[in-house]
Amino acid sequence: MVSLLDIIGPVMVGPSSSHTAGACRLGLLARNLVDGTPQRARIELHGSFARTGEGHGTDKAIAGGLMGFRPDDERLRTALDIAEREGLAYTFEKTKLGDETLHPNSVRVTVERGDRQVVMLGSSLGAGRVLVSEIDGFPVEIHGAYHAIVLVAEDVKGSIARIAAILADDGLNIATLRLTRKERGGDAFMVIELDEAPDDKARDDIRALSWVRWAHRLDRVSG
């Protein structure tokens, strides 16, 4: 369903909803995976992102997103300068991340903060819509249209019930839940989209479970 406010919007820093606003949103999502502005970021641009990214400010938009700037934040224009002052060490590379089945506006971001490192593959689908398709090698499908919690857990029985109970106790309603794993008995990757924004407590309660390797809040970036 198309919303009227999707058509008359978003309010954004130009020049391109896909190459600028969408790129910024991917940066915001990657930032969430390390709980804040990363100290180091390796940004690999693919396809049209690599070819026309500089002219569209794609580099500034991703760096800005990593620092928590939203698509309508005028600081995006000078985000690379700000990154240097704020201690975000970034590198940009133009590369080929996949064959023609990978969306032409794609980027792989490797972010580090403290002892945490995450690799995220995402694409900007047009009109500011985004898709995260891989996190640390796990296939996912995250559009950033919901608040979410993402986590990796050991494949133990009853894990979903425990996590659902924690979320229910915090008054959070689950919109969607997806579980993927690379092999039977291997670690499971959970994406839980929520109707309400979770606070740090929900995340920390999930982190406190002994069989959860890591968990992060993924704030909604669109919709």
């Binding site: 919303s3 009227l4 058509i7 309010v11 391109s16 049209s48 005028e74």
Partner: protein, 292 residues
Amino acid sequence: MYTSLREAIRDAEARKISLARLALELEAKDQGRPVGEIRDALQRALDVMRGAIAQGLTGEFRSASGLVGGDAAKLLHGPPGPLAGTPFRDVLARALAVQEINAAMGVIVAAPTAGGAGVLPAVLTGLADARGLDDEQLVDALATAGLIGAVVAVRASLSGAEGGCQAETGAAAGMAAGAGTEMLGGTPAQVGHAVALAQQGTLGLVCDPLGGLVELPCVFRNATGAAIALAAIEMALAGITFAIPADEVIDTMGEIGREMDVRYRETAGGGLAATPTGRKLARERLVQIKRG
């Protein structure tokens, strides 16, 4: 939201209400939010649109490549042409202004997209200011434009990479034509004819930006898109009808977009981007961006 303008026009006529009111009520229902909140969001969009126009008209902003900027101010201060002193010239200036700001990484409203962001604010605020209409009427017009854009999104496309520029500035022209027609007192049926008249005039329009950047010809396509919208409004309000219904013109745009060679869909592989001068400018200016 509606997927057919014919159905929207039929419902508005049956209830004897404007398309704007129809769109606002349906959006409120779809989103589970009061109409007032939708209006507030559209008012914020309107404020950003006016801000971008004001910034662009100063003539002080240039794009990353330096290829565009400063032309909106020429329409404001430059020598007069046959349209001097008319809302038409003012609308052209505003369309250039918004798109120059977009190219300079300023803040705009992607309506329907960033590349076509100049048409709607230029046509609507230009006409409203000329007629002394207030923000409430402009918010209504934005709602009507949103309804039209939603129909285009579902039936065809709003992406230059998918459908060429007919899906960006062309769709924007259709939205502006319909919304402007209603804002100036046109009936729902006249809105339909205005959309069809504007959209038929942009069928086949390719997306061929130099170097793949939203600069050239995008800035000027917004001005000519606004001109087409004004022509459609003038004709529709005069009682002129277009024999092919708006839905079918929009479907045609989608069909042409799907058949359009990839060189003409934002890849800079054809059209103006592939001309000798287009290639040369892209080469020189892209190098400049890297140095800058």
